[in-house]
Amino acid sequence: MVLQQESNRQLIQQRLNLFRFPVLFIFFILAARLWQLQIIQGAEYAVKAEHNRIRTIELFAPRGTISDRFNTPLVENRPSFDVLLYREAMKDKAATIRFLVEKLSMKSEDIEARLRRSKGAGLYRPILIKEDAGMEDISVVEAHRRDHPEIQLGPEPRRLYRYDKLAAHLIGYVSEISEQELAARTFPGGTSRSLVGRTGVERTYNQLLVGKDGERQVLVDSVGREVGPVSETESVIGGEVQLTLDLDLQSVAEKALEGKVGAIVAMDPRNGEILVMASAPSFDPNAFSTRISGDDWNELINDPDRPMQNRAIQNSYSPGSIFKLIMSDAGLEEGLLDDNPAVFCKGSAEYYGRIFHCHDKKGHGTVHLEQAIAKSCNIFFYELGRRLGISKIAKHAHDLGLGERTGIDLPGEKAGVMPSPEWKEQVHHTKWYAGETISVSIGQGAVSVTPLQILRAVSAIATGGLLTTPHVLLRAEEIPEGELKWPVSHIPLGEEHARRIREGMWESVNNWGTGHNAAIPGHDICGKTGTVQVIGNEKKQQAREDIEDHSWFAGFSSRDNPEIAVVVFIEHGGMGGIAAAPIAREVFSAYFEKHKPKMITSSSPAPDFVTGKGSVASSPHLND
């Protein structure tokens, strides 16, 4: 056995030796071929490689255009050229830099810095030397094509925001993709130097808006001069996007916001189409289409008024008296207001050992729900809040979409806060105090909402319970017709209950309530004002005068056939009825003017608390 194995091994070794020579021979052939190619014919091939110069010029695709709901273009593209440097064609670095300094009036440190930054890139990748070259630069580069073949123009379409600051937050802006984003594939299909959306629609619908880049290959000679074309793939422009925005209304809203800090949002309450979304102060997205300078960027970022922030969705505020609409809904749904109870307001009331005031120190007297909304009576809602308890308030607020994102198709939306004992336990690890419920009842305390959330909640009241998904995309070339669907839910808000809240809001505007400054004769506007104490009343006396209250107005029209809902929010504007209501009026008025609907003032019966369901005395009192 051992012997056989041994002979077997010898046999294998013999056969193995047969392979040895062929293997060595093959290696010899491969090495000899290298010798032939690299040593004998090396010089010859080096010349061939020198002549083998194909230059690839990237043809960047323009992004898709963006228009408003009536097809008015908002964002387009303009042709522009960048000055590029092809290092492989650069024979004398000093001469090139001298040319750039003298003829293109650049700083040599700037050029050196750009060269340094691109050190890692392949030698045959062009370096961006100057963005968005002017006419003069273009003609200089063209004129020196022969003696400076290393300097070339690269076409790059740039974003043109036709109305500058208008709707800047909603539309957003674009800038060059970063190394990290390329590596992480944040933007599918993005290549180096692609422009990508940063905020707003440009960000959300980046994939719909990007086109397909093309490239042109040209043959160049050994010093980098173009000899002839090789091939060209044209770029394909990105898909068109049409927004729900109404440019005319938007302009009116932005004009009304001039010099103020705040937001205006308007939408069609029936389907959630955003008609207006203005936030002030604003910024010019055109500034980003060429590389924005460090100073300009710092100015935008460090501005205490934060112009980059879209106040309609990216910040949340106390709702103040606007919250009384949510309270009304909660009271009605819980059956506490079924037999139209009244509360006697004497200007203040005591709860849990603390005095809570009404904004009218004299008191409103006996008030029912509709009056309480119209006059914005705090006492009525304190009492309603006490009866409801925080859990039921929170439940109905959530039903109306508070404390959660609306799901609008824009980035960076805030959820706001709708407090509850569980929330307080989780966030602050403390117990809920009954007194807090009283504050929450008039929209103070920890409640915080975005203007868009209020717009959606008010729209739900206007439509009798339709909770839509607000959205800004109306149509997109790349989405087939009918495939664009926005979720809508029906909340448990009975038509009769909604009608009573609307009645109160109608009174507020049309019967000398707090919202009367929004009234337009001949049109049925319903609304509710809000005034948010920024600091406590006592402190306010000593504080600087400019710390005014935040002002709110939320409304819709018409009462029976709602087609537009508007929310106005002004930071430190003062009284909601004085600062916000007139602005809402302007928006409504622009809407009516444009659409000229034949709206007749409804000859609705006078609200029932005037002729009333019996006398005050026979009404069950809440504050007994």
Partner: protein, 364 residues
């Protein structure tokens, strides 16, 4: 834990190991030079990860006695076939080859590992035979072991990998003892089948073969790749153009420059000095494998090493031959150097298997 014999550890072949590292390093540098980016997601970053995985696999496989693999080879072989079948069903298609399988975050080409399985299976089968020569029955069983998986790989449209099963069978059969008359019959069949194969071949493959004989004929299309590859190598001259300076590679004249044509990139940027060094390292590996096959403790060990050797040489010759314009263009990677994890890790595994055979030559 099995206690490792001290002698076994002392016998670790450092030169062999360094040669493998040097080749992998040359690949990493060439890939770094010719592709963009240095992040973990770039070709460069991924290659470094693959090399690290390869080293882990190397140490793991080294720990096992090759008899351990051969004892379970039936099960392993059948499992290999099952995986290839699975690839046919759910595999991912890349560049027309349906040979990739997605395993979580990365994808893998199981056919690369199946090659090693076939080597062990064939070595096990042949080494168990007693006669001096193979009978016709043994020859056919051997062919079945090698060509069933080869045909499965071929139906994944991966010709390059499929044909590497042929040298395994051919070389191991010769080693096990093929009768002269059988050899003559086989060669006769091959000659007869060549025209049939020619007509069955897809047009572009025919073109690639014609191109070798006359590259200038079709300068803008098929011969183009061969010519550009020759220009790349030739223009590197003695010292090369330097890191990231290869115009042929960077201007896109070389196809698949980080994978199949990486040797052209290396020759262009590192010159004759660099390319001959890489060739020398390969030769060193082959000689080491020859010696290992000769000194192996048993027939099984010798056969496994020769199987690995045949695949290695086949890959080297086909790839470098193709890049140098001596052979038709067939998409197979250069061992250790080309970008890609499956091939690299399989080569680390097979080298480890062979070094293990060498280190166990005195040990029981």
């Amino acid at each position: 834990m099995i206690k490792l014999d001290q002698r076994f550890i002392l016998d670790f072949d450092w030169l062999w190991f360094l040669a493998i590292l040097a080749l992998s390093g040359a690949g990493v540098v060439a890939i770094w030079s010719t592709t963009d980016g240095t992040s973990l997601n770039s070709y460069f970053g991924k290659q470094i990860i693959y090399v690290c995985c390869g080293l882990l696999v190397f140490l793991t496989v080294l720990y096992f006695n090759y008899h351990f693999f051969s004892d379970f080879i039936t099960i392993i072989y059948l499992a290999g076939l099952a995986v290839l079948g699975l690839v046919l069903l759910i595999g991912r298609t890349t560049h027309g080859n349906k040979s990739w399988i997605d395993v979580g975050i990365f994808s893998f080409q199981p056919s690369e590992l199946v090659k090693i399985v076939v080597i062990i299976a064939l070595a096990k089968y042949y080494s168990g035979l007693d006669g001096e020569y193979l009978g016709i029955r043994e020859l056919l069983v051997g062919a079945a072991i090698a060509f069933v998986p080869a045909l499965m790989v071929l139906s994944e449209h991966d010709l390059g990998t499929a044909i590497t099963f042929f040298p395994i069978w051919a070389v191991l059969s010769c080693l096990a003892g093929i009768r002269r008359k059988h050899l003559i019959i086989l060669i006769a069949i091959a000659i007869a089948a060549a025209p049939i194969a020619w007509f069955l071949m897809r047009g572009y493959r025919q073109g690639r073969i014609e191109t070798v004989f006359n590259p200038q004929n079709d300068a803008r299309r098929l011969g183009y790749q061969t010519i550009q590859s020759e220009i790349a190598i030739g223009s590197g001259k003695f010292l090369g153009k330097g890191f990231k300076q290869g115009s042929q590679g960077h201007l896109g004249f070389l196809p698949a420059r980080h994978t199949d044509f990486v040797f052209a990139v290396l020759s262009e940027e590192r010159g004759f000095l660099g390319s001959i060094a890489v060739l020398g390292l390969f030769l060193f590996l082959c000689l080491r494998l020859f010696r290992t096959a000769r000194d192996a403790k048993d027939k099984l060990g010798s056969m496994i090493v020769v199987g690995v050797l045949s695949v290695l040489i086949f890959h080297i010759v086909i790839n470098i031959g193709m890049v140098e314009g001596l052979l038709p263009i067939i998409g197979i990677p250069l061992p250790f150097v080309s970008a890609g994890g499956s091939s690299l890790i399989s080569y680390f595994a097979s080298m480890s298997l062979c070094m293990g055979i060498r280190m166990r030559r005195y040990v029981n």
